[in-house]
């Protein structure tokens, strides 16, 4: 069940048609899904204050309703080490169209996975797990299911991935925590079903998984046409 707070967050996204990363992360945090420690700073002064709170090194990303693909416009900086570098990054991106501040967050390490949900015309909400990163669309190594999901379903999805071995400690690399991944995916599947009347798609790309944790490093929620236009949930997917 979505809380009133979460529905209000979705309502706030209607003016842009989607939820920008800090908005999406607030919603996921409210739903109990793991996100990094983050802050959304409006100007340079606030950015420096927030950075002090999170601590260097950190990740900085541009926030703008006009920028859907942040890295394509140089809007992401990983490993910012001090105030000087943060100021430089701020200067660089503050001129981008629709600039609405910086997202600052703690650095997270892990193997890149993609987790997503979309509204399929024939089946309603469906979800996907894939070996992520920038090459995800080239390899297309994904597994698709219709929620709800059980933990057995998540294990069968992992089995279906051609690169599944990469997650189990291939060549000395740390194996990811399957238990954490199961927990995130089962919870996300439930959330995707609850959000179905409001959304068109959700990307968690990447979801960073290590031996200890699975954390949503980037997220975007595209809202559904009916919801954006009318503000009401799409009755086809309600219940």
């Amino acid at each position: 069940m979505l809380t009133n707070e979460m529905i209000a967050m979705l309502q706030a996204g209607r003016k842009n048609g989607w939820l920008m990363e800090p908005e999406a992360k607030r919603l996921f945090a409210a739903a109990g899904l793991p996100v990094p420690r983050f802050a959304w700073a409006g100007d340079q002064q606030e950015s420096l204050q927030c950075a002090a709170g999170i601590g260097y090194p950190l990740v900085a990303k541009v926030v703008s309703p006009a920028v859907v693909h942040k890295s394509e416009v140089g809007g992401v900086a990983v490993g910012i080490a001090d105030n000087r570098q943060l100021r430089e990054f701020y200067e660089k991106v503050s001129g981008l169209a629709g600039f609405a501040g910086l997202l600052l967050e703690e650095m997270v390490a892990g193997t890149e996975l993609i987790v997503g949900a979309k509204i399929d015309y024939q089946f309603g909400p469906v979800m996907l797990l894939g070996i992520g990163g920038t090459s995800v669309e080239i390899y297309g190594d994904v597994s698709i299911r219709m929620p709800p999901l059980t933990s057995e379903d998540v294990y069968s999805m992992l089995q279906e991935l051609k690169g599944g071995q990469l997650l189990s400690g291939y060549r000395g690399k740390e194996a990811i925590s399957k238990e954490k991944l199961v927990r995130v995916l089962v919870a996300f599947a439930g959330l995707a079903q609850d959000m179905a009347p409001y959304i068109e798609s959700i990307d968690l790309n990447p979801l960073l998984c290590s031996g200890k944790d699975c954390i949503i490093a980037d997220a975007r929620i595209m809202l559904g046409e009916v919801f954006v236009k009318t503000g009401g949930a799409d009755p086809s997917f309600a219940g």
């Binding site: 989607w18 859907v68 693909h69 993609i114 997503g116 949900a117 979309k118 399929d120 015309y121 024939q122 089946f123 309603g124 469906v126 979800m127 996907l128 894939g130 995800v136 669309e137 297309g140 994904v142 597994s143 698709i144 299911r145 219709m146 379903d153 068109e200 798609s201 959700i202 990307d203 790309n205 975007r220 595209m222 086809s236 997917f237």
Partner: protein
């Protein structure tokens, strides 16, 4: 809603027969049911008169009999009135053959039919369809009997959005010896849709395997269908057309571009234990195998017997390529197998799996080899590549080998070239419920599907 009067009517009214056009769909349907099916068949046309010496009634109400099924073939604009008459006249169900509804842009006319039917809980199939063909029971296809290729009565039910594909599938089923319980063309599927038919066929004692040819579900419709199919006690097979029309919208989402329409379709089917046939060869092969072995679920270890090394080698390639295993037998198993063969091939046969009995094998060698395979725990099914032209075997071998299956219960799948000359050999298998493929590829597909089928 009770669909049984659609599938097993005792009485049929064909509405819209023509006095002047013998090729009119209604005339064809009237005549074939009157002459060939055990149903009381009545012709209806507002003008009355006689058709082929039989009285034509002016309305369904004028028929002095209770009507289980009305077949409606009047022009689209008259269909709502005729449907209302059927409902008022306590007819139990209808098939609307007529076109000229949603497929021609007349959505409102179609919606008016649904409204009438829903208000009365009155089941109808169509419009814009061929309706139902059930061997020996009823046939509303408007194709003259002499033009149709009709499979034998059997236990495969086929539901199709396309009438043309359905009739073509029947040709393939007849050729491959797949028997059907019913074939249903649902056309525009305005009211009775896949889900209701799935429910009916799951409970239908004549049906053992349920097949759907699907072009697409309407918005959100697939969800309830797959969830119901997952609970189905019988194997459900789906052939999907339109695999390549991937959605290109929503490029801003990775998920949307990775999870294209067909990929979602195939994944969701598999998730719910529904068997997807990717093409017609798969469909026909799956149907034949599951019709013979509906309750059999096996692992993928195959034992292969042939009278030619080449056939064995080809079959191994296809098996392994499809994810099946062909385990090599241990020395002890090989020795015991060799001892059961006749003397003239004992030293020349290969017995490691695939087993090549050679062209000098006689009938009893095939029996002995299949008997032996039934006792080998390392294999789950037997693939028998029959070369009917070998001098040592007769047409009786099919029936004899089927008895071996009956005794042991290990699934046996045969390949025999499908030509008239070998018909008796093929029937010896098929009439005793052992599937026979017309190619090695098809035989391997039959093996494959037994592994994918869920426990009932």
């Amino acid at each position: 809603m009770n669909l049984s009067s659609l599938f097993s009517p005792q009485s049929v009214a064909v509405i819209g027969v023509s006095a002047s056009n013998d090729r009119h769909p209604a005339n064809v349907i009237f005549s074939k049911n009157l002459l060939r099916y055990p149903v009381r068949t009545y012709a209806v046309n507002v003008k009355g008169g006689f058709l082929d010496g039989e009285q034509v009634f002016t309305s369904v109400a004028a028929i002095p009999d209770s009507i289980d099924l009305a077949v409606i073939a009047v022009r689209a604009e008259y269909v709502p009135a005729v449907l209302a008459e059927c409902i008022d006249g306590a007819v139990k169900s209808a098939i609307i053959i007529s076109g000229g509804f949603a497929e021609a842009g007349h959505e409102e006319l179609q919606a008016s039919l649904v409204k009438l039917a829903a208000g009365a809980g009155f089941p109808f199939v169509g419009p814009n369809c061929l309706g139902i063909y059930s061997p020996g029971v009823v046939d509303t296809f408007f194709l003259p009997a002499e033009r149709m290729v009709q499979p034998a009565a059997g236990d495969v039910a086929v539901v199709s959005q396309s009438g043309g594909i359905l009739v073509d599938l029947l040709v393939k089923f007849a050729r491959e010896g797949v028997g059907i319980s019913s074939a249903i063309s649902i056309g525009n599927k305005a009211y009775i849709r896949e889900l209701q038919l799935l429910e009916f066929l799951d409970a239908d004692p004549r049906t053992g395997v349920i097949v759907f040819y699907v072009e697409g579900f309407s918005r959100n419709e697939g969800r309830a269908f797959v969830q119901r199919a997952a609970k189905c006690r019988k194997p459900v097979i789906v052939l999907k057309a339109g695999k390549t029309s991937e959605g290109s919208r929503a490029v801003s989402s990775h998920t949307a571009s990775l999870a294209g329409d067909y990929r979602v379709f195939a994944s969701v089917l598999a998730q719910h234990g529904i068997i997807e046939a990717r093409n017609e060869l798969e469909l026909v092969s799956f149907c034949e195998a599951l019709s013979c072995y509906p309750d059999t679920v096996i692992k993928g270890r195959v034992g292969i017997i042939s009278g030619s090394g080449g056939h064995g080698a080809m079959a191994v390639d296809v098996c392994v390529g499809g994810g099946l295993a062909v385990p090599r037998f241990s020395e002890a198993v090989q020795q015991s197998l060799r001892n059961k063969l006749s003397e003239n091939i004992r030293t020349i046969a290969s017995v490691a799996n695939p087993v090549d009995l050679t062209g000098s094998a006689v009938e009893n060698d095939f029996i002995a080899a299949v008997e032996a395979f039934c006792q080998i725990p390392d294999i789950d099914s037997i693939l028998l590549l029959m070369l009917p032209y070998l001098p040592g075997i007769s047409s009786d071998l099919g029936a004899r080998l089927s008895k071996v299956y009956r005794r042991h219960g290990k699934p046996l799948i045969a390949y025999v070239p499908h030509i008239e000359k070998y018909r008796m050999l093929i029937e010896g298998f098929e009439l005793n419920r052992v599937p026979v493929a017309s190619s090695i590829e098809s035989a391997v597909l039959m093996t494959h599907v037994l592994r994918r089928c869920r426990l009932c």
